[in-house]
Amino acid sequence: MRDPRIPLKSSLVAGLLAFLFPGAGHWYQGRRFKATIYSVGIMTLFVWGMILGNWQPVYSELVYRGRADTAQLEFNHPQLKMSFGYAAQFLVGAPALPSLVQDFRFRNATGKQEILDSEINSDFSGIIESRGDDGELRKELVAGRIVIIPAVADQPFAGTLTVVDKDGIETEYEVESNLRLGRAIFGSPRREIRCDLVDKAADETGSDASLQGTIPRSFQDWFQAPRDTHELDQLHGDLNRRFDIASVFTWIAGLLNLLAIWDAADGPAYAYGDEKPEKEEEEED
């Protein structure tokens, strides 16, 4: 039974506010002490998990990849599977809701091949594959700067790739053809880029090479967006157990907020708290 001393006001509004942000329902009811416990406790746990997991433990959908190394480079309609962890994270409310927006954006962009509609001018890292004079395939881990401009004259794009090696020597390549960009919306801070290159310093016949690399993706395009198992494998490789702990923290934060929502809508589960313990009551009788 509800205790009349507890100002629940509108249970529906309080429950909804408690869902939208931990503690907001109690703040609306004037139960400030509990509002502080819920908002500080639950948000600390959620943000702590996000920091431990490089801001990547929350995602609503897992993308199955096909034959490509990463689903970023597949533009068909991929098979999506709901993340079970998100069912718990969702209960934190607003802090986990961007995931649903990103899911919508991801699905909306599905089936469209990424085209270059604006200039790319950013750092990159990756592997350059080239054939030496002896015909042997060489793979070199590189980093540098890439500039690609869309639709120049009758060409679909034009670009250069500048690589700086460990001795500080610069090598410039021309981005020639077969440019492929990863999905614009995807749950990875790095966007895949593939292209064929020509070494500008080589002789007239040129030296063919190809790039398998990544460039930074803007925060609003990767935060809480769907990702594939390749990305999760990389996260586990980089963070090890930290990523698992981060995920568990965000799950627990969501599940704890379920208790807060219940309390906001229906009051505390046991009692007000000033009742005498059963033993004392028996002694008095």
Binding site: D3, R5, I6, R31, F33, K34, I37, Y38, G41, I42, T44, L45, R241, I245, F249, I252, L256, L259, A260, W262, D263, G267, P268, A269, Y270, A271, Y272, G273, D274
Partner: protein, 58 residues
């Protein structure tokens, strides 16, 4: 063995105890008292389990 990972359990337990007891009672004193008791019992249990497993793994 990396013990730093286990230190996460202490503040995690504290938050769980506080939020759980806050959802059971209304009075701040009762919430804090119950949370402290629950925290002590949980950490005691976890510590005992850790020592038991440490002993068995030697």
């Amino acid at each position: 063995m990396d013990l730093t990972i286990l230190t996460h359990a202490i503040p995690l337990t504290a938050i769980i105890c506080l939020v759980y007891t806050a959802s059971r009672f209304e009075l701040p004193e009762r919430i804090l008292r119950s949370a402290a008791v629950m925290f002590g019992k949980t950490i005691g249990f976890l510590g005992a389990m850790y020592l038991l497993l440490l002993y068995l793994s030697r």
